[in-house]
């Protein structure tokens, strides 16, 4: 009985996590790839014209040096809030907390789950 319940809970968790990762990827495509690139490497269509280059989100070393809270903050309030470039916009008016969490999850995949 106990194992059955546990299995059910586990499968619930994993489908929610999957849905979130999926939406994180979609949101990243809509709002972030224009600067950070379709591959997340910082080379989006806008990058060539920009005075400060967008962060390469596949850079494992740099991205691992940031906590999830730090990533959440820069997405919500923009580069200026962490004393970085205003070219990283604040997304708090476009995205709700759940969506920003999903994006942080996607950033973790981009930086640190390449095989």
């Amino acid at each position: 009985m106990k194992t059955l319940l546990l299995a059910a809970t586990l499968s619930l968790v994993s489908t929610t996590a999957l849905a979130e990762a999926g939406s994180g990827k979609q949101l990243y495509s809509i709002y972030c790839t224009q600067c950070h690139g379709v591959a997340g490497d910082g080379k989006g269509i806008n990058a060539a014209q920009m005075a400060v280059q967008p962060r390469d989100h596949t850079d494992t070393k740099e991205m691992s040096a940031r906590t999830d809270e730090e990533l959440f903050k820069v997405i919500e309030h923009g580069g200026k809030s962490i004393n970085k470039s205003v070219l990283m916009p604040p997304w708090g008016d476009n995205l709700n907390d759940d969506e920003i969490h999903a994006l942080v999850g996607h950033l973790r995949e981009l930086c640190c789950q390449k095989n």
Partner: protein, 236 residues
């Protein structure tokens, strides 16, 4: 000609003719149907998209026109509809037109379609009709923007260095980001109050907009709008 028609019907026809001339709505009813048919396959003409999931933004074939009467200048619509040049260097959903290259992502211009053009008579009717689509009169009425002047250097620094608008928008041909609509022609295209209201709160117009809020402070927004006026008035 009307000889054979019974008096009663003649009267009705007469009234219909008077109505058609006197009440523009009757003309608009026809144009509304035409626009729905010819333009509705790509453009939203009502605000239903606002209720859809966010991913809707990725599937858009064209910018929404449901608030066209609160957004555009009628004279710009009339001329652009006859000669529809490109406004968004990377199309309406840029990620769909981006392709990786050795120098980073580039815009695949071959995937950007030409816009259908109208003749002058159609363009006039369609422009008149689009100007009746004004669901956001309240947002416009709440605007306090009075067009003014700003020095070129100050305006440019503000648009670029201070607010980062140039990350996504061009303030001169081939200068600036390409994911947003070109802005050196914004002043000819858009109503001044719309420019100010949209910069302040883009998501109030379109909850799935790809435009962030750079700075919602009224004085800062008015400065940006004055810069768009300055560069727009220099355009031919």
């Amino acid at each position: 000609m009307t000889k054979g028609i019974p008096v009663k019907l003649r009267l009705t026809l007469g009234i219909a003719a008077v109505l058609a001339v006197g009440v523009p709505l009757a003309v608009h009813a026809d144009t509304a149907a035409d626009v729905k048919q010819q333009c509705g396959s790509c453009h939203a003409l009502d605000h239903d998209y606002a209720k859809a999931a966010k991913h809707e933004r990725a599937e858009r074939k064209a910018p929404p026109l449901d608030f066209a009467g609160n957004k555009f200048r009628r004279e710009w619509l009339y001329s652009w509809l006859q000669n529809p040049v490109r406004l968004r260097p990377a199309g309406v959903f840029p990620p769909a037109h981006a392709k990786p290259s050795a120098d980073g992502d580039v815009v695949d211009t071959a995937t950007l379609a030409k816009h259908p053009a109208l003749d002058a008579a159609q363009a006039g009717k369609v422009a008149d009709y689009l100007m009746t689509l004004t669901p956001f009169d309240a947002l416009i009425a709440a605007e306090t923007y009075q067009p003014g002047s700003i020095a070129q250097r100050m305006g440019q620094m503000n648009f670029g260095k201070f607010k980062g608008c140039d990350g996504c928008h061009q303030d001169a041909p081939d200068k600036g980001g390409v994911s947003g609509p070109e802005l050196y022609t914004a002043w000819q295209r858009l109503q001044p109050a719309f420019i100010s209201a949209y910069i302040t709160q883009p998501a109030a117009w379109d909850p799935h907009t790809m435009m962030p809020v750079g700075d919602a402070n009224a004085a800062a927004v008015h400065k940006l709008a004055n810069y768009l006026k300055l560069i727009g008035e220099k355009q031919p």
